[in-house]
Symmetry: C2
Subunit: 522 residues, 2 copies
């Protein structure tokens, strides 16, 4: 671990190969030798089509050498078995295990890390009991989730994705922003008497969540309701929120699961369990567990998360593309790119190695995206003809969720959706010559295509775990710590200073805060 | 126009200045000489704070020289007065005027382009009459907007932003995606009897919109309702949709307004007028008109759109930053970055100049973003400590929309929101030294801050027009055509091929389409 990754043999080999990346615009390049049908990776029921990446057999072999040289799969296995890898060697750091995979390691007879898996099971049992009681009472139709960052985006993205599987009449709303209009808008639409409020904060002291909890509590009180009969806590043991008498029920989260990886812990399970019911929740967790297992495969060609990670590194570090677009062809996944943006950029937006030395290469890219086909009518212009090459990961499903479709011009909407997605892969890769320069497409813009049968709870779990593992594999590759987030601290400290100045209302000074506040008022 | 912009005197001067950009991490650099209070640009009631950009007086002077040398303001004026600038000289192209500003040029006694302004007025009058009739009948509470791209994202973003100003009981839903689940989910939540459906397509032949119109019509028919009494058309004259007997009412859009610039035309006005009422809609248009006027100011320091455009070019072309984050500290603006992403990337994601020659520089950046404070708990880690420098544009307001706030720890939520936003500007700019390398912040990450009093219809109009003009000024600077979108065509052609193959169901061939389809099914 002490050597610079760029000095490793396999990295050097990839550097050499990157001088002549596979040329997708050469005649026949995309389809020759059955390339499309043979460059498919299967993991846990999902398939990854990667013929439209700028790689060939030699690059794939070098990927495998890289995987082996840097022990990527071994390190993933160590992570699942409780190694303390949230750590900067030689410096004060979080020094924690990384065990989000344990929160779904509840189906195997021998879990990888028995202690954390037992804790996950205990909380899940408590949740099942709680949800049964909610069902029995039949009083609550709505849940409001109060949390931010990892306690908001992941659960929200998955809830949106699986709405089609909601139990009849159940709804979940989310309040995250300290912007008071966020809470105002949600609270205007719910009936407090029928509403559970789940407050999610590991530390129990997150500024936004604490403020919003107070705001929502005061609304319940003005409505003559006792918050303790409506509020549910998800927090760390011993946190200021760990006070069961204030809550109808309390669930625990542990410091070995980072916020952005916490969807399958109680952070996501409470709201998803309420929406989907116990069975749907179990399917979701099962899907994630299946993908975790598939990530222990050592062959890069058979390990989708690992392959996706290396294709990303190839495009980012070797072909020089600074961003990654994730483009689901599924409206239900409309918030999934935002969740990945968080999970990826907070994990891998780092500048030092696990040894505390400055990195010598680019780490995590900017990750962004919106659903297709919508995006085709929006930003795809730049993907096709802009000066920035944007690698893309398309995600699609053979079947729709609702099955309510219509045939127009001889094909149904689901077929149109898939046809458009595949067409984009081809157009980006092959480009098009034209005598009119404005109708020319340069091509050689790489993309992958992830395909599942249908976006149901199980496939959602698989897809989530796929991306979590991809991010972890990339962090291992760059030799950084993907599990802390020191970069968010300075903003918190400075916000505190601004708030102190606002309270004291001093504005004649020369400090940065006073200059800003004075200018703001004028 | 025939010379390469990089060869111009002012560009060369900027190149020279970019060798030593203003150093924001030097002691006192952000606050010295009253920098924060003096680097503020005022336009149409909004303010732009740009002390945290890596520019000094010399750079601003060079900006002005660039503006003058390339006649940026003159060209903006020519645009508003009807010049045919949607054009590639010497090649077949759209050859159209660019007159989105006319759609709000309805308050001045002498509109800049009388013909298009008259047409805008006519449609607005028709809309007012229609909305009055809807009010009188009192039958409709809901509108479903069917459109995609420019006919969806802009109206949706503004509708979301101004929900607080909705007329009592009014709601608008949006269906865009050809994904049949998109329509299914919306249709499950509305009562057709109380619902108007506005179908928006300039060509009247957009695949997604046509398909979704059919799908929604069939639902109305199964509910025993006559679509012609519920459906409203917004389309171009003579399009296949220009068939008033199929619609309760029809409104026109013209080919001199591109989709992504069409929010203030009938494309946005029908749904926004329904939601906000005539007065709110007028305020929104008035705000946009005010900003358009302010964009004709020749001094870069007093022309916010122009300044924003040049700061963007400085960061993108001279300091080498490939992306731009737009970060509203207002939950209501949660879809505004997606609209800007469309408007900016579809406009400026180009590789040839207006003369049809390949550009020699980078054109439009990747534009992305999510609301703060949410983002602080998500991707801001990368903004602060990642290897990619991401310039940011913060957008905030002094007052909340609903005014429903709570004081916690001595400050209210709106204050916390503003404190956090300003703290981010400072943290990104100044960074922080620390002996622990993981707690170090490199700083020199540039950002701007756009401030308004309150996010009301008028300020929303100003903000929208600000960004539209910024994008136009950048396109002028790069000497590209920001108004066509040839890059979306190839995907359409190839999707058609896939659909043909799906219909014929041939799968044993060797074409790209057949290989894909065969692989998909296995």
């Amino acid at each position: 671990m002490k050597t610079d990754v760029t000095e490793s043999r396999s990295w050097q080999k990839l550097l050499k190969l990157a001088e002549t990346p596979y040329d997708l615009v050469a005649p026949g390049a995309l389809e020759e030798d059955g390339r499309i049908g043979s460059m498919i990776c299967h993991s846990a029921g999902l398939r990854l089509f990667y013929a439209a990446q700028r790689v060939d057999k030699k690059v794939l072999e070098a990927f495998q050498e890289f995987v082996d040289e840097h022990r990527l799969v071994e390190r993933f296995k160590e992570m699942r078995r409780g190694a303390v890898i949230n750590k900067i060697f030689g410096w004060e750091s979080e020094d924690r295990q990384v065990l989000h995979t344990s929160s779904r390691d509840i189906f195997a007879s021998e879990p990888k890390d028995p202690v954390s898996a037992r804790q996950a099971n205990e909380e899940l049992q408590k949740l099942q009991t709680f949800l049964s009681e909610v069902d029995r009472q039949g009083k609550f139709t709505t849940m409001v989730n109060v949390g931010i960052g990892g306690s908001d985006l992941g659960p929200r993205a998955i809830y949106e994705a699986l709405k089609a599987y909601n139990r009849e009449g159940r709804k979940v709303h989310f309040i995250a922003n300290v912007d008071p209009d966020d809470a105002a808008q949600v609270l205007d639409t719910v009936d407090p008497a029928k509403t559970l409020v789940t407050v999610v904060s590991k530390s129990g002291s997150t500024l936004e969540t604490r403020t919003n909890e107070e705001l929502v509590r005061s609304r319940f009180e003005s409505a003559g309701l006792d918050p303790a009969r409506h509020f549910v806590a998800v927090t760390g043991k011993g946190s200021p929120m760990d006070n069961p008498q204030n809550y109808l029920s309390s669930f625990y989260m542990y410091d070995y699961i980072g916020g952005r990886y916490s969807v399958t812990s109680m952070v996501g399970c409470v709201s998803l369990g309420f929406a989907l019911g116990a069975e749907g929740l179990t399917d979701f967790l099962k899907g994630a567990a299946e993908m975790d297992e598939a990530c222990e495969t050592n062959q890069v060609a058979d390990n989708m998360a690992l392959l996706l990670a290396l294709l990303g590194i190839w495009n980012h570090n070797f072909l020089g593309c600074p961003t990654l677009a994730v483009l689901p062809y599924s409206q239900a996944l409309h918030r999934f790119p935002a969740h990945l943006q968080q999970c990826d950029m907070e994990s891998n937006g780092k500048s030092i190695t696990v040894d505390g030395r400055p990195v010598s290469i680019k780490t995590g890219p900017v990750v962004w995206g919106e659903p297709g086909t919508n995006g085709q009518h929006a930003f795809y212009q730049l993907l096709h003809q802009g000066t920035e090459i944007v690698p893309a990961e398309f995600v699609g499903f053979l079947d729709s969720q609702y099955g309510k479709d219509i045939s127009v011009d001889g094909t149904n909407s689901q077929q149109k959706l898939l046809a458009n997605m595949m067409a984009q892969v081809v157009a980006l890769a092959t480009g098009r010559e034209h005598e009119n320069p404005n109708k020319r497409f340069g091509g050689n813009r790489p993309s992958s295509l992830i395909i599942g049968r249908k976006l149901d709870p199980r496939n959602m779990g698989r897809l989530l775990a796929l991306y979590e593992a991809k991010i972890v594999f990339q962090g291992f590759s760059w030799n950084i710590n993907s599990f802390d987030q020191e970069g968010v601290q300075l903003g918190k400290v400075l916000a505190g200073r601004f708030l102190e100045h606002m309270k004291s209302n001093k504005k004649c000074g020369t400090s940065i805060e006073e200059q800003f506040l004075e200018a703001l008022e004028n």
